[in-house]
Amino acid sequence: MAALTPAGPMAPVTPPAIAAGPGGRAGRPRRIRVWRGVVLLVAAVYFLVPLIASFTFTVKDASKGFTLDAYGQILSAEGFGKSLLLSLGLGVATIVVVLLLTLPAMLAVRLSVPKLKPVLEILCTLPLVVPPITFVAGITTILQWGPDHLADTPFFQTIIAAQNPDFPVVLVLAYVILALPFVYRALDAGLGALDARTLVEAARNLGASWPHLLFRVIVPNLRSALASASFLTLALVLGEFTIASLLHYQTFPVWIYTISGSQAQVSVAVSVFSLLITWLLLLVLSSAGARQRSGS
């Protein structure tokens, strides 16, 4: 009754990838375990080396050896503060606008006009189909034609104002579109888990008015979905390069690229930094989400 013979016909020949099954028996899993270890090792190397190398790149100096100079130089680098603030501002503005637009719409659809759901879903997923570069191609064309065709209309001023390099509203508009699919998905999942309809009916049954309902019942319960949507949007805005650079605005990612020519180390250092921040945001997000799931 000692050693078990591994099931003969279960030789994991082809798709070795998928040969691992429920590891209930002694004989088979050993080969699988080795194989799995190899895969994980290769993956770890592939994903970690560039990060480690980036960090090493930023702290290596021909004469001084290990130094954290590059990081020190970040703060004093020209344009750092300005571009970072700009990106953060754009991020906040985008979050506000996108939530103000989507939350009421999604609530209304879920509670009283479910027929509009497919329409909403298609519209909010459409931006995924259009690559940002084509989007910016369209925008550039409009901005080029605009002044010519709209010179004597009130829109002229609007178009000029939207392109103010200190706070380009046109970028906010574009980013709202880009963020829509993610925000929609996050809020949809949140509303679904919430069973909004039952909650609303229960609250109405207890005499709640609509505003009270919205702010005291629904929004608090959507906290994690709203946080999720906000973080995703922020991560998106802080990383968006294509549209900003082709419209010639100095947002944070564009600044990183611009400065790479002159101060390569600083540029990589900032990349590492922005990466870490984005990751931290998303990590906090997923752990908060996990906590809420297990807590409730």
Partner: protein
């Protein structure tokens, strides 16, 4: 017992309270719909209109130009790169997902899933710089292993593939893991109960059930790689023919006189490709959702 009165007043209250609300609440969707139609729709219309306009007249010349010569090379280059990244990324991503899903260590699974969620969003400039710092001409690994003398260069088609996989593989992992989780152990046991060995199970049940998800993943990866711009711009500039780079070029005025709208035509080409991608992806996703619920 006064059961009568509440019954009579209740419907009135409910009717009074809910009916007007019902007819007005769809207004809440108007701002969103209007916004999307305007901010998204107008550029699209412009692209469409501009594509078919050459020097003020209706013409399909832009489209035909966009499918010839350097532009065609760029389009094909993008397709080749995206296809390669999609297939390789899907394969490797599936292997990684399977290795993680079947592991006994919960922590490993959680860590890899979180990392994948995060890494799939890692693109653009930081990604390019990280790889340049690693395997670029003066990169850390390049110097350490003396690769530059061996003729290695990151700034070509293969280098780009290597870099694109960095966000593609995690995306595949994120897509495949739920599907692998959805493979119910009862299926495996039922198959064994009917005499099937491991290979037969995968062949008749496992792989067919996973196929919609795998195909969906390939398609998703293709779309992502096809649309990527920033990373390529930071790394290869003009040395690798890619349609996104061509569009950027054209938008910066780097184009023949009269051909300004070719950028728009190229954009239209890209949208068509992306649309095809979605058209294939969505039904696949629905099928796999149905089986792997």
């Amino acid at each position: 017992m006064t059961v009568q009165s509440p019954v009579h007043t209740a419907p009135a209250a409910a009717g009074g309270g809910s009916r007007p609300k019902k007819s007005k609440s769809w207004l809440a969707t108007v701002p969103l719909l209007a916004f999307v139609v305007l901010v998204f729709g107008v550029p699209l219309v412009i692209i469409l209109g501009g594509t078919f306009t050459r020097e003020g007249t209706l013409s399909a010349a832009n489209v035909t130009d966009s499918l010839q010569g350097a532009y065609l090379t760029a389009l094909l280059g993008s397709v080749k790169l995206s296809a390669l990244v999609a297939v390789v990324g899907a394969l490797l991503g599936t292997f990684l997902a399977q290795a993680v899903v079947t592991s006994r260590f919960r922590l490993l699974r959680e860590a890899v899933l979180t990392a994948s969620g995060v890494l799939s969003n890692f693109g653009g400039i930081p990604l390019a710089f990280a790889w340049i710092a690693t395997l670029g001409n003066s990169g850390v690994v390049t110097s350490a292993l003396g690769l530059d003398s061996a003729g290695w260069s990151l700034y070509n088609f293969w280098g780009l593939t290597l870099v694109y996989l960095y966000f593609s593989i995690p995306l595949m992992v994120v897509v495949v893991v739920p599907a692998l989780d959805g493979l119910r152990p009862q299926w495996r046991e039922a198959a064994q109960n009917n005499g099937a060995n491991t290979w037969q199970y995968w062949r008749h049940v496992g792989i067919p059930v996973l196929t919609p998800t795998l195909l969906g993943g390939v398609v998703l990866l293709f779309g992502g790689a096809f649309a990527a711009y920033a990373t390529a711009a930071a790394m290869v500039g003009g040395t690798v023919p890619l349609v996104t780079l061509q569009i950027a070029n054209a938008l910066s005025g780097n184009v023949l006189i009269g051909h300004e709208n070719v950028a728009l035509a190229l954009s239209l080409d890209m949208i068509v490709v992306a649309g095809l991608v979605m058209a294939v992806y969505l039904p696949l996703q629905r099928r796999s959702a149905r089986w792997l619920r």
